[in-house]
Symmetry: C2
Subunit: 495 residues, 2 copies
């Protein structure tokens, strides 16, 4: 098949089939679904609705026009004009064999079939087909519309062209193809998943742990690493400077211990050499410290991502930070001269440009954070925002007077220049402690808004009182250098 896929048929409309339908549709490909369940239309629409919401969050405007969804009343109708068929029936070999033969009989000459089986052998699945060369396993992971992995595995009679066509189609819809080079029950991923599942069932069976404890044992620990690095790269890093060979030496003896019901293979010199050399190849010459930094960056970013959902490790970090909260160094309290200390931090690695200087837009990030500290002090913190009101910055004037480098400690001190019923006038000064110099200033005008209505409204009296007290506490200070400045060329008239 050289032309692009225009229509996919989904045979079997359960969780996996509906997930496939969503992935094809949201990548602009028409889909026909067949399943004898009379509820198929409703169930598919619900999954596609979830998927649409998720994909818009994931890709935004980049999504193409959605394909057209049909619920077919017969299998033949679904596959008759399909370029590609994905079979997602229950994991019963006899059932799959029978239906795959029916699909084969009804599909166009150029079509190929992917089977979603988690572990049945394609050589056996294709045995009753007239055109067995057209069947390949394409094993996805739930939710199919979000997780990129698909294992592609051909049987004895699968043609190379079918494998290549299916792989190209899966890549076209945003998937990561893992070619399973040797046909084996469970392929690669499910052999690992099934080992976890069975060991977990043993632990419940033997009364050692509950489902919830088993899940916690993964999601607060190794699961975080597995989101981006598998077991082998993770263990290479665990080996420290001596790497995978050291890890195998250190943990090799544990392979003899009853740490799981699964017996390990003998750790022969040949196996050690295979694992270590494959690990070296996988690491691609990138050194330990670089990988450690990448791992830590990913873990921090994943934790923040989960914190947005107040779930799992993100919820733990959030609760811990609240506990640490008594010790925040820059909490907006007034210094000796009345200005509020709103930021105190070294310049962090992700804020710098190629030249190790604090990047332009991160000045505004820091000044914005300083504004948030002031808002927290007058009672307009996150709880207030969640309740439907907020202060929006409507105007900003930044002056750059110097620069700050990676690691250089900087502080922001803030003047609350004025407040009226719905306006707040702030002036931040950023200093480098190392240079003992002001390196930037930011003047802001904020307006108090009703966020749902998206219009300005008066702020509550108690909040205005707090803001006015801050203004009064700084009233003895002269106007800050740079207040009310205009941008203009020298000699240009002030307007």
């Amino acid at each position: 098949m050289t032309q692009p896929v225009r229509k996919a048929a989904i045979v079997g409309g359960g969780v996996i089939g509906a997930g496939w339908a969503a992935r094809f549709l949201l990548n602009g490909i028409d889909v026909a679904v067949f399943d004898p369940d009379p509820e198929t239309g409703r169930k598919t629409a619900e999954v596609v609705g979830n998927a649409r919401r998720a994909m818009i969050r994931l890709h935004g405007q980049a999504l193409p026009a959605e394909g057209v969804l049909t619920i077919a009343s017969t299998l033949a109708e679904a596959v008759a004009d399909a370029d590609f068929i994905q079979e997602s029936l229950p994991e019963r070999e006899d059932l799959k064999q029978r239906v795959l033969a029916q699909i084969d009989a009804a599909m166009p000459d150029h079509a190929v079939i992917g089977s979603s089986t988690s572990g049945l052998l394609p050589s056996r699945l294709q045995s009753a087909m007239t055109r067995p060369d057209r069947l390949v396993v394409g094993h996805p992971f739930n939710p199919v519309y979000l997780l990129p992995l698909v294992e592609v595995c051909g049987g004895e009679q699968t043609s190379q062209q079918t494998i290549d066509t299916a792989a190209a189609i899966y890549e076209r819809i945003g998937m990561k193809v893992l070619k399973v080079r040797k046909e084996i029950d469970g392929f690669i991923a499910d052999r690992l998943l099934e080992a976890v599942w069975r060991e977990g069932l043993w632990l419940i069976n033997d009364g050692i742990a509950t489902a919830s404890e088993l899940d916690d044992a993964i999601r607060f620990g190794a699961g975080m690493r597995w989101a981006f690095m598998g077991t082998f790269l993770t263990y290479r890093l665990a080996g420290g400077e001596a790497g995978m060979r050291h890890f195998l030496t250190q943990f090799g003896p544990a392979l003899k211990l009853p740490w799981t019901k699964l017996e390990a293979p003998e750790l022969t010199d040949k196996l050690i050499e295979a694992v270590a050399s494959q690990s070296d190849e996988q690491a691609g010459g990138i050194d330990l410290r670089t990988y450690e930094r990448l791992r830590d960056n990913c873990l921090v970013d994943l934790t923040h991502a989960l914190e947005r959902n107040d779930f799992a490790s993100g919820a733990v970090a959030k609760a811990h930070r609240a506990h640490l909260g008594g010790q925040i160094r820059a909490d907006g309290s007034a210094g000796a001269d009345g200005r509020l200390l709103t930021i105190a931090t070294p310049v962090q690695p992700e804020w710098i440009d190629y030249n190790d200087h604090l990047t332009e837009h991160y000045y505004l990030k820091l000044f914005g954070d300083a504004t948030d500290v002031v808002l927290e002090r007058i009672g307009a913190g996150t709880d207030y925002v969640a309740a439907g009101n907020s202060w929006y910055t409507v105007e900003t004037h930044i002056r750059h007077l110097g620069q700050a480098r990676l690691g250089e400690p900087v502080e922001v001190r803030t003047r609350v220049l004025a407040v009226d019923g719905k306006r707040l006038h702030l002036f931040h000064e950023m200093t480098s402690l190392a240079q003992a110099a002001t390196i930037a200033t930011a003047e802001h005008m904020l307006v108090h808004v009703d966020t749902a209505a998206e219009r300005s409204v008066p702020a509550p009296r108690a909040m205005l009182d707090k803001a006015e007290a801050l203004v009064a506490g700084q009233a003895h200070l002269p106007a800050p250098d740079g207040q009310g400045r205009q941008i203009k060329m020298p000699g240009q008239d002030r307007t």
Copy 2:
């Protein structure tokens, strides 16, 4: 122990020991490390450096003042005045038994010991101790300073007070304590991890897959889910509307198939009932669709987090989005009215706040990118900067007139208002195509500099000619709305 822990001793300074040292230090607790390796000081400092960087990224200003790190020259010196001792020696039972007895002999009366063992039984580890009641397993995961999980498991002689004290200390330093109620080799987590590891070793041993393929089979699929939901909740969702009982019915027969070398327990009615009822309890009455939405939100946010690192599933999504063609190129060419089109893009997922709006400092990021497009056009692109000169932004004035949401297409059009020998005056207007409205403007003054000398110098004639041509091409346009504005409260005198 009723008072808070002030000093922790770390015995064994490898990857795990150094990780513990970092976690205690960054939570404000003094640490003494003992390891016979003469390189311990350097290695610990490197791990603490990595950890400091990661924890500043994770928690920002919330971090307390760091504890003091000491490298002790003897074990007795390390533990003599410690409130808590964490043992992280190699996984050899005889070695751990001997050293734990030494720690016991040298530690203060009130101290307790946590062992980092991945799976050795605490009842055996404590057998040579004078005060065996003081030992508990506290099994962490690498990197210890970022992953929250710690398995806490007492031996036959461990006191309840020791378990409670250790759990409180671990929670105090931000960890998620999983109490292992029944002592078993490998505890809970490592039984699962070890099953994956051994199955993986078999697949390499048998020539089925490589280390890299095994890792890909996890990180692009199930690993993404495991970062926040373990196997049991995941499979409950895979069961669709009928839940865990349906899943067990559907995948129960697969437990008999050779999908891993690990034999499954017999799926008796009793086991089905235990798994299903524990799953119901775990789900806590929250319905399928709610969990699906939470799962999808987490997966999207995790993908964006990895996209920031251009790694794993994040790199797949990024490449796919580029293929979908949403990102439009704006090269700074002049439109019909003479203004330069400098940015044209949908609002990207990593630019938005919790409310799905373009975040404040990303406006400046986009305006800064627009400025770079203009500089490229006058011959001051990256090559010019690399050669030692540049244009620095010295002043910026931003007005916010509206908002843009995730996915909304925005454009920036740029006026080159004026240029002299070493100054450049720009004015950007950002419009939302969906709203057909200007949502923000930015006025900038730039100065031409010698970057090494860090002072302003005249720009070359050819560059000025190009800039002047742009000014001339726009001279017919009226002054942009908002040019030369000052920030001030209503009624305040202009200065």
